[in-house]
């Protein structure tokens, strides 16, 4: 019942599109850049509203990472501080932010699969809406979600003793670092969701982010990993994100790890973009 009601609400908002077309003497073409922005905005609002109304999922996706951060700090914090000489939080807060970004994208992937089987995607496909807005809005909504969860995790980190040692600009930039790789990961999850028949494929991405978490410089410092594994740990995207965020908070290199992280994200997006567009079209046109 709930989902039907919220779908109806989504259509009430979408009915606004036709009004816009009537007001203009010559309606803007549905594939113009202006329409793309407008339609993406409407869809993004729809996804965010759905997310906010699902209170259990919101609470879970906000509280679980905070609990994980507190736990990691209790379990490993002291040992790591002894080894590195500075608080383990400079690695664990960014790592938990990345975990929250990646695990949260599963919720979106499963939601997409459900909308496909409910037929909502096909119904949206017949509207005079820019073709790219459906996918772009999912990435945009996830970017908002990632910033929100990162902010919550940051607050928990501040209570535990995490402090920004750099300027205001760096501190603000810190908050937005997880977006890059987080949105790329969402792209990967969406692509999998569009081609998978079963939700267990999405569940399987738990293994991917689990590996990225355990073998990152945020779980234990680089030197603690086995020597033969260190090159992998050092160059994987989550480690680069953590290194960037550590540079922006505690101090250290920022530019090099950030470029590496952006290259990883761009690579994932480049690989996924075309299959994602084809898959979304196919998912919208079936049935």
């Amino acid at each position: 019942m709930m989902s039907i009601a919220s779908q109806d609400r989504a259509f009430v908002t979408l009915a606004g599109f036709t009004d816009v077309r009537h007001k203009h003497r010559r309606a803007p073409r549905e594939n113009s850049p202006g329409q793309l922005t407008r339609h993406t905005w409407v869809y993004t609002k729809r996804l965010l509203r759905r997310w906010i109304r699902d209170r259990t999922t919101v609470l879970e996706s906000l509280l679980m990472p905070v609990a994980l951060l507190v736990t990691l700090n209790i379990v490993l914090g002291r040992s790591i501080s002894q080894v590195t000489g500075h608080s383990a939080l400079y690695g664990s807060v960014p790592m938990v932010a990345m975990v929250a970004a990646m695990s949260g994208s599963m919720v979106g992937g499963i939601g997409l699969m459900r909308e496909r089987s409910d037929g909502l995607l096909s119904r949206l496909w017949v509207l005079p809406v820019h073709r790219a807005s459906g996918l772009l809005s999912r990435l945009a909504a996830d970017a908002v979600r990632i910033v929100a969860t990162t902010a919550v995790i940051l607050s928990a980190g501040l209570i535990l003793g995490f402090r920004f040692r750099q300027g205001i600009l760096e501190s603000v930039a810190w908050l937005f670092v997880p977006i890059a790789f987080g949105v790329a990961f969402t792209g990967l999850v969406i692509t999998l969701a569009l081609y998978a028949a079963n939700t267990w494929v999405i569940e399987g991405t738990e293994i991917i982010w689990g590996l990225l978490m355990f073998f990152s410089i945020g779980f234990v410092p680089l030197e603690q990993h086995p020597r033969w594994l260190q090159p992998v740990v050092e160059h994987q995207p989550v480690s680069y994100a953590i290194e960037t965020m550590r540079g922006l908070s505690l101090g250290g290199p920022v530019l090099a790890p950030m470029i590496a992280m952006l290259l990883w994200s761009a690579g994932i997006v480049a690989v996924c973009a075309i299959p994602m567009a084809i898959g979304y079209r196919r998912a919208s046109m079936r049935g």
């Binding site: 709930m2 699902d54 259990t56 999922t57 879970e60 996706s61 679980m64 990472p65 609990a67 994980l68 736990t71 990691l72 209790i74 379990v75 490993l76 002291r78 040992s79 790591i80 080894v83 975990v99 695990s103 599963m106 919720v107 499963i110 939601g111 459900r114 028949a197 079963n198 939700t199 267990w200 999405i202 569940e203 399987g204 738990e206 293994i207 689990g210 590996l211 978490m213 355990f214 073998f215 779980f219 234990v220 030197e223 603690q224 990993h225 086995p226 594994l229």
Partner: protein
């Protein structure tokens, strides 16, 4: 005299078998069971490789960190399998199949029994994978066949109760497909906050009572002597070591079964 159809002769055992096979067959066909194997590998390498250096100096007097870590690897692998089974039952409840079962001459808890047995099959696969992984990093059974069997049985019983918990979350939840995957995090939290990674003395003093008494630690305390060690540090298998975990299992089952009966028979 109105003629009515005869109530069909049903056998609970046959229903249970049919429903169990229904849950198991698809996992063999689409390779879904591979996620369970990969999860066991993930927990083994994920805990062992990064933490060996950090914790290796304090394995509680045991011969190696692998020997120390094995109970937690097995428990985490099995819990993941049990919770992923809960995810299946959540899908069942969303698709309305549980509602259709209610309209059929099936006992209220038969579908649950079938789901639990299907989940036991996943748990057995996870345990097998965890033991192979453990063997690779250097874990060995030192206590003979009896203790090894006891190790596996206790771990599988823990899996059965975990699947009852997961199944309840899945069946009672409004949006289970989205919430159940997030269960990996609480499971990891309980694992991290247990004596499976490091001895209780290594935790801050204020949290030690929780760490010592929470169920995962109690299971680790029971599994460690069953696994044994080349040194006496693993401890002896006594009722005072194994008892608490059996009490947890019995207590949780006593609470969970009536709750399941309530969820299975309520109308909505």
């Amino acid at each position: 005299m109105i003629e009515t159809a005869l109530r069909p002769q049903t056998s609970a055992v046959q229903q249970w078998r049919t429903l169990t096979v229904r849950m198991i067959t698809p996992t063999l066909r689409n390779g879904e069971v591979s996620t369970v194997v990969f999860a066991s590998i993930l927990f083994t390498v994920g805990f062992y490789l990064p933490l060996k250096g950090l914790m290796g100096g304090f394995p509680g007097g045991m011969s190696s960190y692998a020997q120390y870590l094995m109970p937690l690897i097995a428990l985490n692998g099995i819990a993941f399998a049990a919770l992923s089974a809960a995810f299946r039952s959540a899908t069942d409840s969303v698709k309305g199949i549980n509602r259709r079962f209610k309209a059929m001459p099936i006992a209220a808890l038969t579908p649950l029994a079938a789901r639990t047995s299907a989940s036991m099959y996943r748990c057995a696969v996870a345990l097998g994978a965890a033991l192979v992984c453990g063997h690779v990093i250097g874990f060995r059974f030192y206590g003979g066949v009896g203790h090894a069997v006891g190790f596996c049985l206790l771990a599988l019983l823990m899996g059965a109760v975990t699947s009852l918990i997961g199944d309840l979350i899945g069946a009672a939840n409004k949006n289970p497909e989205a919430t159940v995957p997030l269960m990996l995090v609480p499971q990891m939290i309980l694992g991290l906050l247990s004596v499976g990674l490091q001895p209780v003395e290594r935790f801050p003093a204020w949290i030690q009572p929780f760490v010592r008494n929470q169920p995962v630690s109690q299971f680790v305390y029971a599994l460690r002597p069953l696994g044994g060690d080349s040194t006496p540090a693993a401890g002896e298998v006594t009722w005072s070591v194994v008892g608490p975990s059996l009490a947890w299992l019995a207590g949780l089952t006593l609470i969970l079964i009536p709750l399941h009966a309530f969820v299975a028979t309520r109308r909505r």
